[in-house]
Structure formats: C-alpha cells, structure tokens
C-alpha cells in the first residue's frame, strides 16, 4: 500500500476541504496512548480504509469522555469533559460516531444526550458485524483461524450495560473458528475487574484479583485466543494470561485485530 493511503483524515482537514465524512472514529485515550491498544486502533483504521469507509478522527482535538471521572464520583470533572467534547462534536456537526471502546461508547451514547450531545453512536463490534453482513468484509473460509478455538469475553459496558451480546459473537463466527463459551457469559459474564474506574487504582484487599478469576475461566475453555472488545478488558486479560505464564500459547486479541489478521492487513 502506498504511504499516502495511511494519511489519517482529521475533522479539521475535512472541514478545510469542505468534506463531510460519513463517520467519526472516536479513538479514545487507550486507543491513542496505550501501546497495546494502539494496535487495535491501527487494525480498525486498516479495515476502514480497506472497505472504503468515509471517516475521520478528531486527532489532537479529542479528549477523555469523562467516563472514569463520573464513575469515581467526580461529576464536575465528568461534565466539564462532556461539555467540552460536545462543543467540539457539535461544532463539526457530527452525526455518527464509531468507537472501539465500550466505555466511550456508553458515555457518548447514553450520557451525552442529556448534556446536549445527540449522535448515533456505534461500537466497533456492531460496526464490524454490519460490514460483514453487508459483504464489505468477506472473510475467506479456511483462513488463519480455521480450527482455532476462540472464546469471547463479554465487556460489561457492551453486554449488561447496553445489551450487546450477539454482534461480537457474529464477527467471531465469520472467522470460521470454533467459538467456545465460558461458563459465565452474556448476561452472566464476569467482569474483568477494570470497570467503574478500577482501571486507575489498585484493587481493595481480597483473596484474589478479579482478572485472575476471569482468566482462569477463559483458560479452562482450552481456547487459543481470548477475544476482547474493550481496552480495559484487553489489559486485564493480557495481564491475567501473563500471570498464568500462558502468553506463548494463548493470545488476547481484539475483534478488529482478528479481522485485520484474517484479511492479511
């Protein structure tokens, strides 16, 4: 691919050119800064490019949605962030947002409308499922995942918080891999331990870390790949796999990475 195809359009560029993208890709803080999750961002960008989706990002203009502040109780800080973001989003007359972070997704979709930010917000698992459904992503059967066992770890902020259970599973089914479920899945899915701002502090004293409990359950399925759809789950499950010294055998991958790999992107 030519270098120019990896120019990532920002809303500011688009506006300067008088163009309006179909979707805004909300990258999120983890997708922007976290070394591991940046590769999810890149994988998703490759899919967007490959499918010819008209998109842009906010780039340097994006800031934290305020999710961890609100969940830790700092409503002032949350609303300051929300108002600032809404000002930017409304300034660009954004209609449709896709994000790879369930926490950003939940906040943008459910919590911004009351503060004046009304957008169609889609999580990337649903977006990928739609691309597959529309035939824009056609995964070749017998690809690199044929015969591999994949287990999907439900993100609380997709599942119980927003009732999204099937889209990520449909994406995985398209990979022609064997999807195995953990005992606690869907509405009963066990949290990775990082939600509610837990990502940003140590756990309280207890007899076990939540991510270890969840990783043990994931490993018990015998899966080669633990599929995740959330940056916090990704960190927690990866740490869990490392803790169990299974990182050579078991990979924790995001849905976008799985699609990109399968497409050879």
């Amino acid at each position: 691919m030519s270098e120019s195809s990896y120019q990532i359009p920002t809303m500011a560029d688009m506006l300067a050119r008088g163009e309006v993208p179909e979707i805004l890709f909300w990258v999120g803080c983890a997708g922007s800064y976290d070394d591991r999750y940046k590769s999810v961002t890149k994988a998703f960008i490759k899919i967007l490019k490959k499918t010819g989706t008209s998109f842009a990002v906010l780039g340097p203009e994006e800031t934290c949605t305020g999710d961890p502040a609100r969940r830790a109780g700092n409503e002032f800080l949350f609303q300051m962030q929300a108002m600032a973001n809404i000002r930017v989003l409304n300034g660009y007359e954004i209609k449709k947002i896709v994000t790879a972070c369930p926490h950003c997704f939940n906040t943008l979709k459910n919590e911004y409308p009351e503060l004046g930010g009304n957008y169609e917000v889609i999580h990337h698992s649903t977006f990928l499922q739609q691309l597959i459904h529309e035939g824009k992503v056609t995964l070749k059967g017998g690809g690199s995942f044929k015969g591999k066992k994949i287990t999907y770890h439900d993100s609380c902020y997709l599942g119980r918080a927003n009732n999204i259970y099937e889209a990520p599973r449909q994406v995985l089914q398209a990979l022609d891999a064997e999807l195995v479920e953990m005992k606690r899945c869907r509405t009963k899915g066990l949290c990775c331990g990082a939600g509610g701002a837990q990502m940003f502090k140590d756990a309280e004293n207890g007899k076990k870390e939540i991510n270890i409990e969840r990783t043990e359950e994931a490993l018990a399925t015998g899966a080669d790949i633990i599929a995740a759809a959330c940056p916090f789950c990704m960190t927690m499950m990866s740490d869990g796999v490392k803790n169990k010294e299974k990182e050579d055998k078991v990979k924790v991958l995001d849905l976008a990475e799985l699609i990109a790999k399968s497409e050879g992107l």
Binding site: Y6, T41, T63, N74, F76, C156, I210
Partner: protein, 448 residues
C-alpha cells in the same frame, strides 16, 4: 357464646388493621424521605416490566430449581388468600364455610385445589429450610447475614409451614365432624390432602374435634393477620413491594448514570454558557444541598423503596466480582444497610428524636469507603436481582459524596482526576502526543 366470638373477631380485625396501616404509613413516610426522581413516564413499558418480572417471575427463572419452589409458594400465597375472604366473612357473621352452599361442588374443587397448593407451599418451605440450614447454600451466608437476618428467614418459612398445617388440620377435623352429622358443619364433599390426616383426629370426641377445628381456624386467621404485620418489619416485604419496585424500575440503559442537573448548571456557568433549563437553578447556592449521598435522605425515593423490597436472597452478592474475590463489598449489604439506617432514622423521628441529626450517617457508620471503592460498576448485581433492585445506583451516589464533598477518593483516583484536568486523559500523557499513533501507522503500516 356465638356473639362473643364475633365480637372477638371484630376486635382482632380492627387491631390488625390498625397496626398494619400504622406501619404502612410509617414505611411510606420513610421512603418519601428520599429525594424526588421522575419514574412515572412510559407507563406501558412499566406495566409490562411489572407483569413480566414481578407477576411473571421472569428473572427468577435464571435458576430453575429455586424458581419452581418459589413459584409454588408464590402461587399458593396469591390463591390461598382468596380463602381468607371466606374466613373474614365467617368471622364477622358467625357463619361456617359461608361460600359452600352457594358454590356447591365447585366449592369442593376449590378447597381441594387450595389444599394442593398448601401442600406445595409446605413442601417448598421444608426444602428451603434444608437449603438454608443443612445444605448451607453459599448465597445465604456472608458478613451481613448476622443472626437476625438468618432468624428472620427461618421464622418466615416456619410460620408459613405452621399456617399451612393449620388449614389442613382444620379441614381434616371438619370432615370428621361432617361425617358424624354435626349440625353446624355443612357437608362439603371430601378434601383429598386433609383426609390423609383424618386418622390422627378420629379418636377425639365431638367436643374435642370442635375445639381442634375452632382452634385451627382461629390460629390460621389470626396467624395471617400477625404474619401480615410481621412482614412489614421483615425482609419478606418483597411480596408486596416487588410490584411497585418493578413498575418504578430503571428503564434506561443500565450503563447510564443518573445526571446531576445542579452540576450541569454550575458547569455551564463556569464555561460561560447559558443555563437553558432553569429548573435546577437555585437562586442561592446554599440551597443546592449536598453533592452525592452521605445519608438516606440524599438518595432518591426509588433507592429507598428498593431497600425495603430486598428479600436478602443474595443473588446480587453471589454474582458480584468484588464479593466473589473476597473484597468487602456486598451489594446485598448495601441494600440492607440502607434499609436499616432508614428504619433507624424513621423510628427516631416518629418518637420525636433527632432522626438524621443523630450524629450517624449511612456512609461511614453503615457503609465504608472500602466497600464502595471496590465496585466495578459491572451491573451484575442489577442484572441478578429478581425484582430489579439497583445497588449500583446507591454506590455511585455515595462515591459522588466522597469525591465532591470530602475530596476523599483513593489517591490514585485523585491522580487520575488531575490527569484528566491537565492532560485530558486519565493517564499522564502529553495531549500533544495524542495523535502520534497516526505517524507510527504512516511510517510502518505493516507492523502491529
């Protein structure tokens, strides 16, 4: 003699009515100590939620065996109580089985069905006692399950068993008296389940049988009145509150946290934006009140009704990731503490005491920061509750108080707050580096 029992019955009825209505008014008053929240919108959806979840027991059926046993007791409770109407009318008019002559054979069918349900209730209660006390099912234990909650649970089951035995005894002795052609005992046809008990009482004289039958009748009806009053002091209140609790439940996405319009207005003022909706603009900043919840009156009334609706089944706690990994947080304890504190305040106020100003508060004296800090907001407790109780809502309001009024959040959270304030990300990265990934991708598109 006849009139004496009628007068006694009227007195019992009045007394029970008095105590019951007094207690109901007290609970209502306590619940209304909560701040207002509008949960009267979308009424078709609310009726649907109530019918499916409370009336239809839908969420109970995630776990089939307890659900079936519970269903037997629930249906028994709903239907056997139809018979209470006959009890009350008989008591008032000094009649005996008032409905029997009117309903004829259908009466026999009804009583047989009630007896079947009574046996079902008996069976379920015995199994539940075994699950609690012998099998020691995990979710019935825990820090908050101290001696009273355990005794309360056992008492409820035992009272139900005794009440059902009273019905069966009454029907058994009644049938013997009918067979002996005793005048007062209208022929009703035979009742399958209670007739099994007939051999136990056949040796008794007519007088002994009448005494036993009357005793069982009085025991059953006064037992029901006493139980109704007891229920209002017990976790068993869910039998009534499950209905309004599901009707007034949260219909929005569970991931959404309740907005604070007071903060919205302050933030808008700070940013120099017009505060459009004037509804929450207080003229005097002192009227704003507390940010978040420190005590029960800071919570909304639905939170407080939730607390009374909780029957301490522990499904929330057994599904809570923090609880199952040994942290102090237990969503059930959050609900029980809220109820206990509310009761304490309500009792104190009704005696002219200090109420909320007693130097204690929900946060601190009942619920610790360590508990609320352990929550991952994963909604497992909310999902697990068969009557849509929302412990998460309470936890988050308590966190708001700690963060905004006390600045008492854990140090790492305070660091996260200042990262967001200064770098617009919860991590300490330079805002100018936010878009660096695009350069990395441009330079090395094939890498991961």
């Amino acid at each position: 003699m006849q009139y004496i029992s009628q007068i006694a019955f009227v007195l019992v009825l009045i007394l029970a009515g008095y105590f019951l209505s007094k207690r109901i008014r007290q609970i209502r008053k306590n619940i209304l100590m909560g701040r207002p929240i509008n949960r009267s919108d979308k009424s078709p959806e609310r009726w649907k939620a109530m019918l499916l979840i409370a009336f239809g027991q839908r969420k109970m059926f995630k776990n089939v065996i307890p659900a079936l046993l519970h269903l037997l007791i629930y249906v028994g409770f709903l239907i056997i109580n139809l018979e209470v109407l006959e009890f009350i009318l008989d008591g008032l008019f000094g009649t005996h089985r008032l409905f029997a002559p009117f309903l004829g054979d259908f009466y026999t069918v009804c009583i047989n069905f009630f007896e079947f349900l009574a046996v079902g209730v008996l069976f379920s209660c015995v199994v539940f006692l075994i699950r609690r006390n012998i099998l020691n099912v995990n979710r019935f234990s825990g820090l908050e399950m101290t001696s009273w909650p355990k005794l309360d649970a056992n008492l409820i089951l035992i009272i139900e068993i005794v009440l059902m035995l009273a019905i069966l005894t009454m029907n058994a002795t009644d049938q013997i008296l009918q067979a002996r052609g005793h005048m007062h005992y209208t022929a009703t046809g035979s009742f399958f389940f209670s007739s099994i008990l007939i051999p136990l009482f056949e040796g008794l004289s007519d007088q002994g049988l009448i005494m036993t039958e009357r005793f069982a009748w009085w025991f059953h009806i006064t037992g029901i009145f006493a139980f109704a009053i007891y229920v209002t002091y017990s976790k068993h209140l869910h039998i009534f509150l499950a209905f309004p609790n599901t009707w007034y439940g949260n219909l929005e996405a569970p991931g959404k946290i309740e907005n604070m319009p007071v903060v919205t207005n302050e933030v808008k003022t700070m940013l120099g934006m017009p505060a459009e909706d004037g509804h929450a603009t207080p003229a005097n900043p002192d009227e704003i009140g507390r940010f978040g919840a420190k005590d029960v009156n800071d919570l909304n009334w639905v939170n407080l009704m939730n607390a009374y609706a909780c029957t301490e089944c522990g499904r929330c706690t057994s599904n809570c990731p923090a609880s199952m990994t040994g942290k102090k947080l237990s969503p059930r304890k959050i609900m029980m503490d809220t109820r206990d504190r509310l009761e304490e305040v309500g009792q104190s106020l009704s005696k002219g005491g200090k109420g909320l100003e007693d130097g204690k508060s929900l946060l601190g004296d009942y619920i610790s920061k360590e508990e609320i800090n352990a929550c991952t907001s994963c909604n497992a407790c909310v999902e697990a509750c068969p009557v849509n109780i929302d412990p998460l809502s309470i936890i988050l309001q308590l966190r708001r108080y700690v963060a905004m009024e006390e600045s008492g959040s854990p140090a790492s959270w305070n660091a996260m707050f200042s990262n967001i304030e200064t770098s617009f990300s919860p991590w300490k990265f330079a805002p100018t580096d936010r878009f660096n990934w695009s350069e990395e991708l441009k330079q090395n598109p094939k890498s991961e």
